[in-house]
Symmetry: C2
């Protein structure tokens, strides 16, 4: 598997089709097929030898997307950097992956001096913007116009294609090393899931530095689809892009769907071209799912569960399993069944494989696992064991192979000797009509060790009390699982770039000067 063959397939299949739409700029696949080997030649002149690393710090753009292919074409490995990170964190990543070339757009020019100081291995800077090329940098477009196409480097199979950095907000960044084979086969698994591979138009709103934002770069390209690129998620531009370009496929997180459905201009846009909406990052509350199915009747939802280390994909809850009544209604609370090519098992702390219904750690095996964490053989050996990736997530499988993710192990609350998975409490809260957002955390309690605590944002116009929410939960879940206290907020809860509630931010103030036993 040569990663660059993915681009070749798009050019062969759909040369006259639109490859990228970015602002006012559109390019055909035939053009992208011409530009990439020239950009690669330009990178090569900047000293990229086989196996060297090129980093990118940029908002999503068509040029950024081309680099996913130009860098391996030139023989290099690709490190997209996190746009939310500080210069200090990004400098760490640049040193960690030994990057010798850094590509930046206008949004990150201010970080450049710090990055140059702290990552002196970076010898060349490529400018991805449209303005005047800053001193000391070379324009990406000049790489293309000044160089003839080079032959593909031929890197493939186990060669390193990309390094995705994770964990920056809660610890030292780790570089997840993905091979040509892993990214190629992971993409085939995504395509197997999709109901059609014809005329796909994918709208990006997640950053390419995160796997959930980047995965479609590969699988949409294989089938010669169109990449519609927005720099970030904002409801109006997203709705405009869907209706203007006839977008067919997207990846969202549930909080974004809420923002679309509740937006005052929601009804002004025709969003009916969209067919496949993949969501993940956090479970979908049932009430929201029902509202979405009603207001967006043509959208088919697919939940996916995975992590960067598993190519972002391991299980899928297919559209037909999004049902709210009947004998299979419980499946809506799962994250579905293993994707084609993936095996999932639940493992006890002593390493035993557990039968259906038993809670343990979720482990996944496929041909698209990471090669390992870059330069971190100890941490790699901790999670990659016997060909399985150990997720750190707790969960169980039902009799039909549906995976229920209990919650992050570290997010489990131990109260009065009982384990409470916050997700179960959150699901109960979301069934209350006044609850717009909810996060459940453990806070210190002299009586219980930890106490179940809920942080809630109420829907505008409602004013349910803490006691009414606790009573509501008591009807649905065991007493020891119900919140002991409820805290109301006016602003949206803090979320990560992929839309997960940042529970550490909610939890940390309670735990100052105390040690939690878990996590």
């Amino acid at each position: 598997m040569r990663g660059t063959s993915i681009l070749g397939q798009a050019v062969a299949r759909n040369p006259r089709g639109i490859a990228t739409i970015c602002g006012d700029r559109q390019r055909l696949w035939a053009e992208v097929g011409e530009r990439v080997p020239r950009a690669a030649a330009g990178l090569r002149k900047l000293g990229i030898a086989d196996g060297a690393t090129v980093a990118v710090l940029s908002m999503n753009s068509d040029r950024y997307l081309e680099l996913f292919f130009a860098i391996p074409w030139a023989g290099g490995a690709f490190a997209p950097l996190n746009v939310r990170w500080s210069a200090k964190e990004n400098a760490f990543a640049l040193r960690d992956c030994n990057a010798t070339v850094l590509c930046v757009d206008d949004a990150f020019l201010t970080q450049v001096p710090d990055l140059q100081r702290d990552a002196p291995g970076v010898g060349a800077l490529v400018y991805l913007g449209d303005g005047k090329t800053p001193d000391g940098m070379i324009a990406y477009e000049d790489l293309i116009s000044d160089n003839a196409a080079m032959e593909d480097s031929g890197r493939c199979d186990d060669d390193l294609w990309a390094i995705f950095y994770t964990g920056g907000t809660t610890g030292m960044p780790k570089g997840v090393a993905m091979s040509h084979r892993a990214l190629g086969y992971g993409s085939m698994s995504y395509l197997a899931m999709l109901p059609t591979i014809e005329d796909l138009k994918f709208l990006y709103i997640g950053g390419y530095f995160h796997f959930s934002g980047a995965s479609a770069v590969f699988y949409i390209t294989i089938v010669g689809g169109t990449h519609v690129i927005l720099p970030k998620f904002e409801p109006v531009p997203v709705m405009e892009a869907i209706s203007t370009h006839g977008v067919t496929n997207m990846v969202l997180v549930p909080t974004m769907i809420t923002m679309l459905l509740n937006h005052p201009d929601f009804t002004r846009y025709d969003l009916s071209s969209l067919r496949t909406c993949i969501y993940g990052g956090s479970p979908m509350p049932e009430a929201l799912m029902e509202q979405a199915a009603k207001l967006l009747p043509k959208w088919e939802f697919y939940q996916i569960y995975g992590m960067t280390e598993t190519c972002g994909f391991a299980t899928m809850l297919r559209w037909r399993d999004h049902v709210f009544s009947g004998p299979t209604a419980s499946r809506i609370r799962s994250c579905g069944q293993p994707a084609p090519g993936v095996e999932v098992q639940i493992v006890s702390p002593d390493g035993t494989t557990l039968p259906p219904g038993k809670l343990g750690e979720i482990a996944m095996r496929s041909d698209y696992l990471m090669s390992g964490y870059l330069n971190r053989s100890d941490e790699t050996a901790e999670v990659l064991r016997g060909g399985w990736m150990y997720s750190g997530d707790a969960g169980y499988l039902d009799e039909d192979g549906f995976l229920f993710v209990a919650d992050r192990v570290k997010d489990m609350i131990v109260t009065g000797g009982e384990n409470v998975f916050s997700i179960e409490v959150e699901r109960a809260l979301f069934q209350h009509p006044a609850v717009l957002e909810a996060a459940v955390i453990g806070i210190p309690s002299d009586e219980w060790g930890e106490a179940v605590h809920a942080v809630v944002v109420r829907r505008p116009g409602t004013n349910a009390t803490a006691q009414s929410l606790i009573d509501h939960c008591r009807d649905l879940i065991a007493g020891y699982k119900c919140p002991k206290s409820v805290e109301f907020r006016e602003d949206p809860l803090p979320v990560t770039p992929v839309g997960k509630v940042r529970k550490n931010v909610l939890r940390d103030p309670y735990w100052e000067n105390r040690a939690r036993k878990i996590g």
Copy 2:
């Protein structure tokens, strides 16, 4: 990629679903998941060590299907033998692949003495039938009942999984060696093509010894679908099986579709459960395609083109490209675009890659090519060059990447210095209402070198003359391409097991004691 993980995925995804339907016998995936590791243990006791070969000579059955997984589970390689071959040809294959165990059903017991004499390396015989186990053989069901499950051998990736023999009717058989990785990834490519991977029920009518018959064993199992197994193609049992079991997927060749549509009982069966009908082996005449689309409106047709050496799959003409008017109508005459994961190029005799529109040899590259021909490094080196599989087929690509297979190179007719591709002439003939079957061959001509000659079966009740057919062609194609002579037959044309017209049988009588320049 471990081949046995394919079975594991079916068991995990659909343990309570029906795995196999064979005659009156049905088994669930959970059962098959229990049986295979026991059968593997039984094979191991028969002396199968890692890398040893087990051959099967049998009509399709549920037991045969289990062997696709039990043999690699035991560490072995699998050689399914051609049910049309003589004992002499099969003995050659047994020696060639060094088989030490042979599994046979009742249909082939009579070949056993000859095979034992001519392939003395076969040390153990397994009986796949339901009758009394013949002396000197061990019953397959006893392998299962007498042995506890063994651990999976763990064979994977480049390890040999299966050897498919080709070419027996026209030359010495060649064993096409397929690795675990090739069969695994080829299957992912099939799944990417399918519009859905849910609740698939596949009806087999092609023998498992041929890749077109076996390919679904792998990809239907990955998604936990149901295998409905018939021993061979006969219109009534096929129509009965579709309506009884709600079959959703099939592979047919065009001659079989003709036989279904023209069968007097066609209208008695409800065939509307079928969604995806893959056809291949030979192009579909336009008139037949139109008739099928009218009489079977729920069936979606996918043409595939490939060869055993490319995992049976390389390009696909999707349903949406089966159109008969408008600017893309020409595509119906192609075999579609490269499948996901496949690159196709057209190569001139001097090795140059040719641009769209230019005729040359079709070469294919993917991660699911054969490892090579078993024990035939010279023949392997002839066709597998620089990572590409050279097909021996002539064809061209259009501007949108659609592949037009001109015909087998050896089937090209050189007449008066002009090259005529018989398929083009056949297509013209098929547009005549009286033509039921047609094959065009080159016969010796003192004037032209070769002359274009048509062999035609007329529809019942019609009696078009040779001259009227020639005149009809003259309206459609260049004069030098039109048949110089037409021969009418009453019986169906001779076809290979996969439904291709055996042109050598038609051609050879004309060429006795003469050498053709081509082929």
